[in-house]
Symmetry: C2
Subunit: 303 residues, 2 copies
Amino acid sequence: MVVTVVGLGLIGGSLALDLRANGFANSLIGVDQSAQHCQQALDRNLVDKVLPLEQACWESDIILLAIPVGAIVDVLPQVLTRISKQCVVMDMGSTKEEISRLLKGHSRRGRCVLAHPMAGTEYSGPMAAVKNLFQGNAAIICDKEASDPDALKLAERLFKSLFMHLIYMDAASHDIHAAYVSHISHISSFVLSLTVLEKEKSESTIFNLASGGFASTVRLAKSSPKMWRDVYQQNSSNILDVLDEYIEKITLFRELIASGDFDGTQSLMKEANEIRRILDGEEADLPISSSPTTKQQTLISNR
Amino acid sequence: MVVTVVGLGLIGGSLALDLRANGFANSLIGVDQSAQHCQQALDRNLVDKVLPLEQACWESDIILLAIPVGAIVDVLPQVLTRISKQCVVMDMGSTKEEISRLLKGHSRRGRCVLAHPMAGTEYSGPMAAVKNLFQGNAAIICDKEASDPDALKLAERLFKSLFMHLIYMDAASHDIHAAYVSHISHISSFVLSLTVLEKEKSESTIFNLASGGFASTVRLAKSSPKMWRDVYQQNSSNILDVLDEYIEKITLFRELIASGDFDGTQSLMKEANEIRRILDGEEADLPISSSPTTKQQTLISNR
């Protein structure tokens, strides 16, 4: 199978690494606007060769678009007009409604599978590509009925080869859920960074006091501004909705502290602890303590 | 050296584990209000025996208070009146100004070292204790001139035996910096959890979409409400100060999205990226990509 990866960054590069290692790809073609990224991808053997987009389209069995969502809406329609009849195109973007709307009624819509593998790190570029980035995570496929059955099957086979589990939803639902769970995390992390940079003028103090807590909460603030700019643009109404909720909650938290109602803050934090049960499968309201599971112990030790 | 650990939780239990392993402690005594915690600490061999506080005071060379800061202000003065002349008492709390004020002029103030080891996880209780929790992190010692030279030296030796690096500041400065870097992280994480629990009613969707980003940003929301309640109470004015800054920044972020100024969000995120340079020692404004260092690659692989 000849696989073309458009966008040789964290996601594209990591896809290339795993799809070569697991045998899904016999041959990998890279496409990237940046000559430096192309060279790095070749140096790291992420791809076998680099081609212009048009030529890559002719030669590919499957084309993976791992570029910012603002670029996907430009590139995907171009790609669809240039591929062979059997070729499948998948996008890997973090928003889906706009691209879904754009493709509606397109004569070659069936060749396209709209996907969102839930994986990433705060780093970007070909040097950030890592093995097993996707393993054990969810891959969302949107509007699956709009894809040709063989195209859908190939996309599913690709994600399964990465040991991802599949989830299906329509594009509009995807964008709502992504805003609620993923996009707001990035904003709260960016804002935490801005706040700490504004208030704490001593860089060495930030470094020294960071320890594990601040470092993990602020981690996403290292993410690519260009990539996230496009996500906010394409998903602004859902993001505003969840942002309003966030601002309401943090204002309530502030009011409780300002009025000296620390029991009130304790109740709120107890509610927040509920996330433990959902993410770790643990009881959140143990009266005295919460113990990590063996798996968490390992994660803690590796931190 | 006979070491008593008061509070057999995450911090106390982890101290016990390392101080036994590195030979600093020949004998470890545990004190805890919870019979269950005492039993778990004995079962895990964190301590050799469990005693009531008063008796432990008589037998100890050094006493470590690893209890919520609201309890420290009650327990520390009691302990000071009960120890032998040579005994040293250290508190491990996350706030320092109130305890510092309380001890001012105390006849035995010199036996006491006010400390804050910057380490932790989101778990609590004796079962959460892990080895090497402190290694490589900063230990803050406050108002060192108020401690007797031999007491200070012993405290320093203890932290160095854990491979921590020492930082000295006055108690008031500690509380400002801790609010700016550590306490706000916890609040933003608690609020993120509350927001997602409110908006996203499907637990399986939260679980599936969580991936690395949400999970790390919301991690601190699993922390102990009782412990953090006390921190907010003792450090409320500094926390309100940084919370106001946070609310101002997130409101600005919201306004930029609402008004369609996505270039504005991109500039803000670029500013936020600066945290990368401080925490990772990397350039934040590389035009195209940011690559993880070898150490970060390892961390990513372990995630």
